[in-house]
């Protein structure tokens, strides 16, 4: 077989997807046009298969706590390596790396991190800037930050330093939920070790940059996971969210410019800077790049936390790491893919949906915190959703009427739906109530309460109607 092979002087060979590669046995290059700019660029064929992640691409190497979590162990696993060089590269370099990596917030909203941290990149007006790390992990289904804080706390501490440098922050406050006492204790030990080794504090890592890290324990309020409520809580008040604008980047904690970031987002920043944003962006689909910690709970054989590539198919994630659905894939009823605030998806959607932001938005749900709650056919799905609405009712701060009254109202109705003690028109009524709550509240807790109800009605309305019919029958039989 004849292949025209030309050795390119600069740039790598452009290898079109299937074409003539098969023809050459020695891996010689195919014809390329020297005029096209594509020939100069490093072009890789677009990835179509995502996950399983190779261990060498995993960031959280001590996720399961099998190795030493203290400074010595962290150093041996590559934390705090060349941090000084990263800090000396400067604000713009770090922000550029994070932007290139395509990292999106891992706390549930998925806002592009590079852009968010860039909002703080403005000249100081005399007020110090702060980084606040949101370790108030309370979303039902989510337990990923806990593992970072107790098994790999140095990743978080280093992340605070690197992220703080990128923002020009004076100090970081890590707000950890009060129930995580042992986790906060590990974290405080790690911070003390870092101070003792000169890695943070005055002249952090010998770079001339001063940076402090403080741990603040919360006291049991899910709403304090909302960024402005978290800021209120740090200031020593009730955790009632503020209206935005003004945004935290203008007026935040103690009235100073603040960025509130999730633990996972902050913890992966040093590794991105070390290994390059281009490595991170090579994992996952476009605009949904990198790795993510997934929590798989509920009716699976081996519930676990695992770090996997973004855009991995849902089915593969569950079958490979969580031992598959209890009773086999056919026994699956539905999955809540991103923590309780995301609507559930039924079996036929789960068959081929990809676990990333865009894929799940297309399925009318969201990635959220990537906390999968798997339910099999034995589940009373109405009761499961009713319990979630009860959770939101308890956790509502009570500031704004749609949430305080509306969620309580939805809760009462949901428990009647569990019994079937309702009329069919009330299904449309609760849909309308949820629509009146969604988007009309000060913070997103209202949305978070409305979406599960909408997901239930969208996919399981027949179950609700049959429950109502059964109850009516029983009533009539008794009468």
């Amino acid at each position: 077989m004849l292949t025209l092979s030309r050795i390119l002087v600069s740039g790598a060979a452009r290898v079109p997807a299937a074409a003539a590669v098969a023809a050459s046995q020695s891996g010689a290059t195919t014809i390329t046009r020297f005029n096209s700019t594509a020939a100069q660029q490093q072009e890789k064929p677009k990835k179509t298969k995502f996950g399983p992640l190779a261990d060498e691409d995993r960031i959280f190497t001590n996720l399961y706590g099998r190795h030493d979590w203290r400074l010595k162990g962290a150093l041996s696993r590559g934390d705090w390596y060349k941090t000084k060089e990263i800090l000396l590269k400067g604000v713009d370099w770090i922000l550029n790396e994070v932007k290139t990596s395509g990292l999106r917030g891992r706390g549930g909203a998925g806002f592009p991190t590079g852009m968010k941290w860039g909002f703080m990149n403005k000249p100081s007006d005399g007020r110090p800037k702060y980084l606040v790390v949101n370790a108030d992990e309370g979303e039902p289904g989510t337990c990923k930050d806990r593992e970072i804080m107790r098994h790999d706390p140095h990743k978080l501490v280093e992340g605070c330093l690197v992220a703080g440098r990128a923002m020009g922050a004076r100090a970081a406050y890590i707000y950890i939920r009060g129930e995580f006492y042992n986790e906060s204790s590990n974290l405080q030990v790690a911070i003390n070790e870092a101070y003792a080794a000169g890695l943070i504090g005055k002249n952090a890592c010998d770079s001339g940059y001063d940076f402090d890290v403080f741990v603040m324990r919360g006291a049991g309020a899910y709403i304090c996971g909302e960024e402005t409520a978290l800021i209120e809580s740090i200031e020593g008040k009730q955790g009632k969210p503020r209206l935005k604008p003004p945004f935290p980047a203008d007026v935040g904690v103690f009235g100073c410019p603040t960025t509130v970031a999730n633990v996972e987002t902050v913890s992966v920043a040093p590794t991105i800077c070390r290994r390059g944003g281009s490595w991170f962006v090579g994992l996952g689909r476009e605009r949904n790049s990198g790795t993510k910690l997934f929590n798989i709970s509920g009716h699976v054989n081996t519930p676990c936390t695992v770090e996997e590539e973004m855009s991995i198919p849902l089915k593969e994630l569950i079958e490979r790491h969580a031992g598959g659905v209890r009773g086999g894939w056919d026994n699956l009823l539905c999955v809540i893919p991103g923590g309780s605030s995301t609507p559930l998806i039924p079996r036929h959607v789960c068959d081929d949906v990809l676990m990333d932001f865009d894929g799940l938005i297309q399925a009318q749900t969201g990635l959220g915190t990537a906390a999968l709650i798997v339910m099999d056919k034995s589940t009373d799905v109405i009761r499961a959703i009713a319990r979630l609405i009860e959770f939101y009712k308890h956790e509502s701060c009570g500031q704004c009427t749609p949430c305080r009254e509306g969620v309580d109202w939805m809760n009462n109705m949901m428990w009647r739906f569990v019994k079937g003690d309702a009329r069919e028109a009330e299904i449309d009524m609760i849909w309308e109530i949820s629509k009146q709550i969604e988007g009309h509240t000060i913070c997103a807790l209202g949305d978070g309460a409305a979406w599960p109800v909408q997901g239930l009605i969208r996919h399981f309305r027949p179950v609700m109607e049959s429950r109502i019919a059964e109850f009516k029958q029983k009533q009539q039989a008794r009468a």
Binding site: T61, Y64, I86, C143, G236, C304
Partner: protein, 244 residues
């Protein structure tokens, strides 16, 4: 005349729909009713003073926050007070307000908002069971029933020997280790009914069992064996870019 009859009719119509106080359930906020009622144990004169050790802790906590923002220390200092006394009588809240130089109402606001602040006496071991959906799917109902049967108390009650208080709480953030309970500061995870009974027995005997999963696994790894991170972790410098 007619107008007043119309008003009477309207009032009685709505009165029929209003539930009388004695029939409504007391609106239970976090940790009990919102209003404070003086009792012999819990009144502004209940003795409460911080120990010198705790005062040192409080001073260190205050230093975490910028000058002039002592109020930010309200939550941690209330936690110190609760750890010292076991729960928070109103005099403790007043003391916190005094130490932090803020109005007592600010402390009451915080103490009533957050669920971990107990404003009623609590037993030595506060059993908090999570019954939110991920735990409910893994049968937290039977764990709750087992605790209730073993201790003979219902949710919200304390055993007569003041050893155990049982509460039902919202998601504790250990969902892959469901079902689980939190007892004081420790999480006991991956429970079945036999496990929780054993834990309660050990607590009664005065030993605090070690926290963590009870089904043999160490933390959050898949119970059937590792599916990731199977080899030793790479060392420093692995994959690091060359221009650093």
């Amino acid at each position: 005349m007619f107008l007043s009859r119309a008003i009477c009719a309207a009032v009685s119509q709505s009165a029929r729909q209003v539930r009388s106080l004695h029939r409504s359930a007391v609106r239970a906020g976090a940790g009990g009713i919102f209003v404070h009622r003086d009792t012999p144990d819990n009144n502004p004169d209940t003795p409460f003073e911080f120990t010198p050790e705790n005062m040192k802790r409080i001073e260190a906590i205050i230093l975490n926050y910028p000058e002039g923002h002592k109020a930010a220390a309200t939550i941690p200092v209330l936690d110190v007070a609760q750890r010292q006394h076991g729960w928070l009588p109103i005099s403790a809240m007043n003391k916190v307000a005094e130490v932090l130089e803020i109005a007592p109402m600010r402390v009451y606001e915080v103490a009533t908002f957050y669920t971990m602040f107990m404003r009623q006496p609590v037993g030595k071991y506060h059993i908090q069971i999570c019954t939110t959906t991920p735990c409910m799917l893994c049968d937290s109902d039977s764990i709750l029933a087992a605790i209730q049967n073993k201790l003979g108390i219902k949710v919200g009650q304390t055993t007569p020997d003041k050893l155990f208080t049982l509460s039902e709480v919202e998601c504790l953030g250990a969902c892959v280790n469901a079902p689980m309970v939190q007892i004081n500061d420790n999480y006991y995870e991956d429970l079945n009914t036999a496990d929780i009974e054993q834990i309660l027995d050990e607590l009664k005997a005065g030993k605090v069992p070690p926290p963590g999963p009870r089904n043999g696994r160490f933390s959050c790894e898949p119970a059937g064996g590792l599916t990731s991170l199977t080899g030793p972790p790479p060392g420093p410098g692995f994959g690091v870019r060359s221009d650093l």
